[in-house]
Amino acid sequence: MTLISKRGIADIISDAWIAFIEAEGRSAPHKREYVYASSRRECLRRMVLEMTEGDKLPEFDANTLAKFRRGNDRERDLLNDLSNIGRNSDPPFEVVAQQQRFELKDKKGRVCIVGKTDARIRFERTEGGIPVEVKAWSPFLTNRIERFEDLALSPWTKPGAFQLLAYLLGAGEPVGILLLDMSGLPLPIPVELEPNLDMIESFLQKAEAALDHKEASTLPPFIEDPSECQRCPFYGSVCNPPLKHEGATVITDPAFEASLVRREELKQAAKEYSDLDKAIKKAVYGTEHAVAGNFVLEGKWRQKTVYDVPAKKQEAYEKLRQANKRIEPKGSFVLEVTKL
C-alpha cells in the first residue's frame, strides 16, 4: 500500500473538489440581449459591454463557481425554511411562484430589463403575493445592512437594491421583502416601491440608453471614476479608459503647518497630563481638602441630574432608537494626523 503524506491527502481532496465543481457545468460568461435586473452599474459603458462583449470575459474559475454554488445552496435552503415556517406563522403564508421571469419594457416598447423573482409569499385569502428576493452575500457586506437604504453603502450590494425595485415594478406590487442570509437568523427587510420610484426610473433610463447603444453599435463615454474601473471585469481587456485620480491637497499655509508642528510637540505632554490628572483625581476622590508639597487640593460635591427611567421604558426607547437607525455614508469625518 502506498503511503500518502498529510499534504498529499489535502491535495487529493482539493483536486477532487475542483473536479466536482467544474463537472457541475460552468455557467460561462455570455452576451445578453437585455439588461439583467441584477446588473445595474454606475458605468453605462459597462452595461453595454455586458450585452455586447459578455462572451469575451474569462470563464469563472473553480473558486468563483464554488462561491456561486454556496450562494445558490443558501438561497434554496432559506426558501425551503421560509415555506416551512410559513405554515406555522400567524397568520400563515405560503411560498409560491418561485423563479418567475419578469420583463420591464422601455418607452419604445422594447424589453429592457429582465429578471427572475426568487419567490412570492402569499398570505391566506390574498391575491398575488409579495415578491421576495433572497441574498446570500458575504457576512462582511450583510453585517452593515439593516435597512433598504444601507444597500447603497457598498458598490457590491447596490445593484441588489435596484434589482428588487425592478421586481416590484415588474410585478406591480407596492412592497417586497429582501431576505438577507446572516450568520444567525436571516434578516427580512421590507422594501417599498413608491418612495424609491426615482431610483427605478433612473435604472430604466440607463437600461434604455444601454439598449440604444447596443442597437447602434456604439459605446457611451468612459466613466470618470477610477474606482469603478478597478472593479470592472472589462478593464484592460476590452475597455481601456483613461484614469483620473484627484491627488492630495497641498497646503502651503505656514500658520497651518506651525499648528501641526506645535500639536505634535504637545502630544506627549498632553497624554502625560491626561494620565496624571486621572491618577490624581482617582487618588483623592471624595477628599474635600488636602495639601501635598506646595499644592492645595480642593474638591467639592456638586449637584448632578440623574434620570431614573424604568427599565421597560428604557427598553422601548432603545427599540425606537434602533428602529430609526440609519447609516450615513459620510456621517462623520475622522482625521488622522501622522508626522512623517
Binding site: 469575451k56 470575459l57 474569462p58 470563464e59 477610477p226 478597478q230 478593464y235 484592460g236 481587456s237 481601456n240 479608459p241 483613461p242 484614469l243 483620473k244 485620480h245 484627484e246 491627488g247 492630495a248 497641498v250 502651503t252 499655509d253 505656514p254 500658520a255 506651525a258 499648528s259 506645535r262 504637545l266 497630563y273 496624571l276 490628572d277 490624581i280 483625581k281 499644592f295 492645595v296 487640593l297 480642593e298 474638591g299 501622522t338 512623517l340
Partner: protein
C-alpha cells in the same frame, strides 16, 4: 481642580498668524506644481530659496506618504550591481499611490498583440501617457506589456490566457506611468524602512527578486537561507544537537543568525551567529518576477539598467 496645580503653567502656543486686515503672503509658489522660473526665484533672493526648500519638503513628505500607503508585499527587492538592496514598486502597489499623486493615465492606445517566434507565445503591448496632478509633470509614449510566457499565467489557456495577458499589460502600463511620475521605480531599502517606521510594516515581508538566489529558492525550495547557503548546510544546535534554521537579518534590528529549529515550540532557544561564506559565482541571475509583475525591466523607456542604477 485647576490645571495649573499640576506643575508648570502650560507653554504658550506660539503660532504664526496673519495680522487682521493683512492678506496671506503669496504661498502658492511653494506648491511643487506651480511653474516658477529660475529668474523669478532668483529675483526673490532669500525667499526664493525658501520656496525651493518648501517644494522639496512637500515632495519628500508625499513620497514618504506614498510608501506608507503601500504594503511590503507590493515591493520587489533586488540587489543592484554593487549589492545594494533596491525596492521596485509592483503594479498592484501603484494602485495605492495614484490617489496621493493625482496621477492621470491618458491617451491610452489599443492593445497590440505581438506573436512570438515559436508561433505559440505572444505578448500584448499597450501605449499611453500620464500626468501628475501634484507636480504637473507629464510623460508620453509609455509602454506596458506582458507575455503569455510570464509566470502568473502559467495555468491559463485559450481565451483566459489571452484576456489575462491583455489585462496585465494594461495594469503594467498604469504601473509604469505611476512609477515614472511618482519616482518609485527604484527606492533604496533604507527609504522603505524609514517610511514604515512606527508601523507594523517591515521590509522583511517584501518579495525577493534578482540577487536573492534562484527563483526556486525564493519560492522556498530546498532552500535558500542566506547568500547561497542551503538548509542542508545548516549547523547542528550547540545545545540540543537538533537542526538549526536560518533567520534573515532585519534591517536596523539584528543580523542574520542560525536559530534552533525548536525555538518556535519553546523547547530550545539556542542561537549562533551566521557567518557569510565567501562568494563563489555570485547570485544566480534571474529576470523572474512574482505574481505577474514583470519587475524592473532591462530596457525601461529608453533608459538602460545601468543608467538607473539597477
Amino acid at each position: 481642580m485647576e490645571d495649573e496645580t499640576l506643575g508648570n503653567p502650560p507653554t504658550k502656543v506660539e503660532v504664526e498668524t496673519v495680522p487682521e486686515g493683512e492678506e496671506r503672503r503669496d504661498l502658492p509658489m511653494e506648491h511643487p506644481g506651480r511653474e516658477v522660473g529660475l529668474a523669478e526665484l532668483a529675483a526673490r533672493k532669500g525667499e526664493g530659496l525658501a520656496i525651493i526648500e518648501a517644494r522639496a519638503k512637500i515632495l519628500e513628505t508625499l513620497r514618504k506618504a506614498a510608501i506608507r500607503a503601500t504594503s511590503p508585499e507590493d515591493w520587489l527587492l533586488f540587489r543592484d550591481k554593487v549589492g545594494a538592496v533596491i525596492g521596485y514598486l509592483q503594479d498592484c502597489g501603484c494602485d495605492r499611490v495614484r490617489d496621493l499623486y493625482g496621477i492621470e493615465v491618458q491617451n491610452v492606445g489599443r492593445p497590440e498583440k505581438v506573436s512570438g517566434e515559436d508561433g505559440e507565445s505572444f505578448t500584448y503591448l499597450i501605449m499611453g501617457g500620464g500626468y501628475c496632478g501634484i507636480t504637473h509633470q507629464t510623460v508620453e509614449s509609455i509602454e506596458g506589456g506582458r507575455s503569455s510566457n510570464d509566470d502568473f499565467v502559467r495555468d491559463k489557456h485559450g481565451v483566459e490566457l489571452e484576456l489575462a495577458v491583455r489585462k496585465a499589460a494594461r495594469a503594467n502600463l498604469d504601473g509604469n506611468i505611476t512609477r515614472e511620475l511618482a519616482g518609485l521605480k527604484s527606492v533604496p531599502l533604507g527609504e522603505l524602512n524609514e517610511a514604515w517606521k512606527d508601523s507594523n510594516k517591515t521590509s522583511a515581508d517584501c518579495r525577493l527578486g534578482r540577487g536573492f538566489g534562484s527563483g526556486a529558492e525564493r519560492q522556498g525550495a530546498d532552500v535558500q537561507t542566506g547568500a547561497g547557503v542551503t538548509q542542508s548546510k545548516a549547523p547542528k544546535c550547540p545545545k540540543c544537537g537538533g537542526p538549526m534554521k536560518f533567520v534573515k537579518a532585519k534591517e536596523g534590528k539584528y543580523e542574520a543568525f542560525w536559530s534552533c529549529a525548536k525555538y518556535q515550540s519553546g523547547d530550545c532557544t539556542a542561537a549562533r551567529p551566521y557567518v557569510e561564506p565567501p562568494a563563489e559565482n555570485g547570485p544566480e541571475p534571474s529576470t523572474e518576477a512574482p505574481d505577474g509583475d514583470p519587475g524592473p525591466q532591462e530596457e525601461d523607456q529608453g533608459v538602460s539598467r545601468d543608467d538607473v542604477n539597477f
